[in-house]
Symmetry: C2
Subunit: 461 residues, 2 copies
């Protein structure tokens, strides 16, 4: 448990988490070779904070700190660390030290660290672990990466359904096979199938002779080992759960997922959506070296170059029109830009509503219709505005009328495609957060240019 000074936590919300003071203290201690200070500070603060300190340090200092810590390295920081950082530091430890540190962690945390090791190292580590633990870990690594089997911990408290509260309490007081943290008792039948749950706050309030079967929540929310991250996150969020039993294919209790793991899942899913919408696909982008980051972002830029060239080809069709009237070249980015922005607004709302299951097949048609209307309303307003501005600027009210119509059409189409693209992508099981933005802006760009220049060609020339 943490030893952070309570006074600090109370007096200043900024001292939740690490401060730049903590980081600069570590840097100073390393510079002055005050090894004891480094060791005591990093073992005094919460492991999650120690992980943050290590992440924020430059590679050189991080390496130094780890060598200074040596066998005093706080093992619990490992599962709190970002993947690229974890990969880079794992080689600083000897095999024996790694095995020793990992053996002290929960199974789900051990799996998290082993996942990032190359196969060779993983095998060696497993070989050095106690047999029972090795079996559990191997089983966990066999489940697919984003499934409940990987996220669950394999220790939980299960009690026969016919036990009394008194018997449970005696069992908990004596047994050594109880997990460090748990929030509910899982009542199981003779086949080890969970048939109910008793939250601890219920169990604690009942007399010793009360039977588990009389106080348990029947039909508890149950997770299957194969269930996916996003379904688990939704389950906990929707039903405000703190823990849930995990069962195998035959319905038998094999593990437990607790809310602290799910908080991570929810944040990670949101992170991924934000980054994907921003055209960044790689995890841990912040911590990769510049060249690796450039390479990981390269794909989307390449696709964007392609779509930008397609837009240019569309413009090139109107080369002679542009030659005759250069004002068209000056004005044409406005229509495309407004379409892109209006479409992105619709798209963002739709993608996020899908992730939180607020946009479903039950209401997609209504939402779609609404977004076209939104495009119409804003289209009418901005068409009027840009028409007047253009008329005044170029003293040409026919040109104003043309850009006004182009604006109206493009904003309606932006709303239409902004809503349709994610709905269609998810119908074909494509993650809408990934491909939607680039598809949308390609469409609004090309349509913006073609409608504006096309109208100009036929009305002005």
């Amino acid at each position: 448990m943490s030893n952070i000074n309570t006074k600090n936590v109370i007096s200043n919300t900024n001292s939740i988490g690490i401060t730049s003071q903590t980081v600069s203290d570590i840097v100073t201690y390393v510079d002055k070779n005050k090894k004891e200070k480094v060791i005591s500070l990093l073992n005094k603060i919460h492991p999650a904070d120690a992980a943050d300190v290590l992440e924020v340090l430059s590679e050189e200092y991080r390496k130094n700190v780890i060598f200074i810590l040596s066998d005093k390295f706080p093992a619990e920081t490992l599962p709190s660390m970002n993947v690229p950082i974890l990969i880079s530091i794992i080689e600083y430890f000897s095999l024996e030290h790694l095995i020793k540190m990992l053996s002290t962690l929960d199974t789900d945390d051990i799996t998290y660290v082993l996942e990032i090791c190359d196969e060779d190292l993983r095998k060696k580590i497993l070989l050095g672990m106690p047999n029972a633990l090795k079996k559990l870990i191997k089983k966990s690594l066999n489940y697919s990466e984003d499934s409940a089997g990987r996220i669950m911990q394999t220790d939980y408290v299960s009690v026969p359904v016919n036990w009394t509260i008194g018997k449970v309490i005696d069992y908990l007081r004596l047994s050594k096979a109880v997990p460090d943290e748990f929030y509910a008792l899982f009542a199981v039948d003779s086949r080890h199938v969970p048939v109910g749950t008793v939250p601890l706050y219920i169990a604690m309030r009942k007399e010793r002779d009360v039977k588990i079967s009389d106080i348990m929540t029947t039909n508890p929310k149950i997770i299957r080992v194969g269930d996916k991250r996003q379904d688990i996150a939704f389950l906990f969020d929707q039903y405000e759960l703190t823990s849930a039993p995990v069962v195998d294919q035959r319905g038998r209790l094999v593990g437990m997922i607790t809310v602290d793991d799910v908080v991570d899942l929810i944040r990670q899913k949101a992170d991924e959506d934000i980054l994907k919408l921003g055209g960044v696909s790689g995890e841990g982008d912040l911590y990769l070296a510049a060249f690796k980051t450039a390479r990981s972002r390269f794909g989307w830029l390449g696709i964007n170059l392609l779509t930008a060239i397609m837009a240019s080809v569309a413009i090139a069709i109107f080369e002679t029109t542009l030659e005759k009237l250069v004002s068209l070249a000056i004005l044409m980015p406005i229509v495309a830009s407004m379409g892109g922005n209006a479409g992105t607004q619709t798209l963002t709302v739709a993608v996020r509503a899908m992730a939180t299951r607020e946009l479903t097949s039950s209401n997609s048609f209504r939402v779609f219709g609404k977004e076209i209307l939104v495009g119409l309303y804003n289209g009418l307003f901005f068409a009027f505005l840009i028409g007047i501005i253009t008329g005044l600027w170029f003293g040409d009210y026919l040109l104003g009328l043309i850009i006004a119509f182009a604006m109206l059409f493009n904003l309606i189409l932006a709303g239409t495609f902004g809503a349709a693209i994610p709905i269609i992508l998810s119908y074909f099981k494509v993650d809408p957060a990934v491909a939607a933005t680039v598809l949308l802006t390609t469409i609004t760009d090309i349509l913006g240019f073609v409608i504006f220049l096309g109208l100009a060609k036929y009305l002005l020339m």
Copy 2:
């Protein structure tokens, strides 16, 4: 507690939450006037699911369903409902019915509903509530909207620090003033200041004669009534808490925040960031009527129009250059578009890293330098590519060289501004998610046009 059939939950992850079947069943029952079926179905499913059903229905059906439910309306759905929906349905209930329903809820849930009522209605509701509850609610409403005081519940389990486990258990078994759900005992001193916490999973495993002071976690993480949402979310996420005591200005225990409320906070914060980056500021955008939605998105589109016109003014400076060489008009959107995309990638990573406190003043300088390097790497590559393509397309390798240089400069500048803008905004305490995108694309657009057309003017003319 929920009565959903366990079999369904196990056999099909899609049946977590509502299915389109549930919604169409309700619609059929309403159409056929099968009132009893509507009432029994919506009271059988989990309140959070019932709220989702009501949200997904069209306004007409929603109104019908609420009138059919009448005094059988499940009160617990109210706090699970989206704000615009909640606002629209609140008027369907009589004052007495509202008071009756709200009085059954937790204080934090009552506050959530009262917040959306207009002042007149709120006063009337409070007037009808039991005195003790009224006092608590009024106090809670006095705290600022995104502070701990508003989020906390006012019932918790506090025990004198010198009690034994046995005494605590007896107290819990007999007392009626214990909250429905709790995960820890808060140990308090004689001034009611929390000095330690005992998680229930620890308390349950100890013998009756063990003293609270001997098993409590000293220096627990403590929240002050004035602490902000994002700090609370970070605290729970970082330290994997399930509950935390809330203290007033004098350090005395006044409430408790539990992890289920924080799961909401974390998801909401991520939602807000995603929507803001997409240029949508309003909460509950999905459920607003089309005209209201159009109005709420209007502001950002207006700002975008302004910046698009600024870009056009920048292009207009080069009117004579464009007249002489129309290929420039065809090519110029490419440089601007690539800059916008590369900058958005950097920006998204930076904004998200700030929200999760991975990007801090300790490493911002390093991240900034890295992003310029990333811009250089990708800039070199895409400059080469677009140079060749342009040379081949227009048979003009000087033009290819010009666009290559423009591309290189704009991608380096995009990386620079993409990292600098959120860092600078947050230095001035402006939420980087709100203003960053529009600022960035304005800069990359204008720079993209000016660098390309400027180079062309001086090298080609």
